[in-house]
Amino acid sequence: MPLKALEAVSKGQNGVGAFILQCKRIDVHYCDWAGSSKGMNTFITTHLPTFARLNPSIELHISPRPTRHPLLRGHYINGRQKAVCVKNLAPGQILEKAELLKAGSGEKNQRINKPVASLNGSVRGVWSPFHGSRYRL
């Protein structure tokens, strides 16, 4: 008897039953010397502990990047990265950028023209001869 794979009964969709955050890691880069990192250095000491406590599924790596502008780089589970330069921003503005990276899916930015977007082409689904009302000739 040949080996036969199990047929998929249902397709998993994020948010149905459980939600997995797409952002898995955020790199926080700063500079001790440069003035453009002033807000970032304050953000690390004041806002970041709370952000890290509220988001335990996101790994946070803090490391200096001397003589460079401060940066937030989000790593996503689809393998993509998204980097945001936060030079000369206030700590509150940097927190907004961190929330943006956290909420992102990791996909490229797309223009949405239609009012409704769905993975399925039609709400009626694929026609099946075994379902629905029975036709008799």
């Binding site: 001790d32 890290a52 335990p56 599924s57 790994e59 790596h61 490391s63 200096p64």
Partner: protein
């Protein structure tokens, strides 16, 4: 067109009257004037001697040999060379630290040191009993920690309004503890307990990493990793366990592993 005559500068007239102006033509005029007022030319020590004996003027001023600028460095006096040290029988210079290498970290040790500095300075002022004797007396009360009880209150009441006393105590305390305190900070201190607080205060963090270490805000969180230095490509590869594979393959091919080995 008639040429307008240029008036002669006063300095030119003075220079013409100066007796050494002809010999020191390579000097600027203010320097020539200054050299003329001195008993001996300033440039004499830089010139090579011609060997002729010095003659005395009718005014009693000693006239040296005519100045000849040195063309080479032969015959000039040298300073600071090992030969010069050997000739002059000088002791080789030994650097003496003002502050000890090790800084005291324990607050009770620092407090003891500042108190000791007080006692030493005051004893020297009195010039009566020796500082060691007084210190031994205070050390006998080691069982009572100086930070607590009535003793600490007594220390706090000592006024520090005398600038010379404050400076002497701060300097001696710096030597005993190895902690450097700025003059501006010492200037604002007016009592002994404030001085002790100044020495026991935690130093200001130099960078973000030190600040995070001091506050301990992120150290307890399991999802946060802080690195004090810039992360390199090797660090990133090591983190995911790929660097040892890369390093092995580079060595197998005889290629440089890092830039330094190139």
């Amino acid at each position: 067109m008639r040429r307008i005559p240029r008036p002669q500068n006063a300095i030119d007239l003075v220079t013409a009257l100066s007796p050494r102006s002809q010999t020191n033509t390579w000097l600027c005029r203010p320097c020539q004037l200054r050299a003329a007022s001195l008993p001996k030319p300033l440039t004499a020590r830089y010139s090579t001697s011609t060997g002729t004996p010095e003659t005395s003027d009718s005014d009693g001023e000693v006239q040296g040999p005519p100045y000849v600028p040195a063309q080479t460095w032969d015959g000039l006096e040298w300073f600071g060379s090992p030969e010069w040290v050997a000739e002059t029988n000088r002791q080789p210079f030994k650097y003496k630290r003002f502050l000890p290498k090790q800084k005291s970290a324990d607050p009770s040790t620092i407090r003891h040191a500042v108190q000791r500095a007080f006692i030493e300075v005051l004893t020297l002022r009195e010039a009566g009993a020796s500082p060691d004797e007084l210190w031994k007396r205070t050390e006998s009360a080691k069982d009572n920690p100086p930070g607590e009880g009535e003793e600490a209150k007594k220390w706090g009441r000592i006024p520090l309004t005398d600038f010379s006393l404050k400076f002497a105590v701060a300097k001696r305390a710096m030597q005993l503890t190895g902690i450097r305190v700025s003059d501006a900070a010492v200037f604002g201190v007016h009592s002994a307990d404030r001085l002790i607080k100044l020495f026991t205060a935690t130093p200001k963090p130099k960078n973000v990493t030190e600040k995070l270490e001091q506050t301990q805000a992120l150290s307890k969180l399991p999802n946060v990793k802080v690195s004090p230095k810039k992360l390199t490509e090797i660090d990133k590869e090591t983190e995911i366990g790929r660097w040892k594979v890369i390093e092995y393959e580079l060595l197998q091919r005889g290629l440089p592993v890092t830039r330094m080995t190139r």
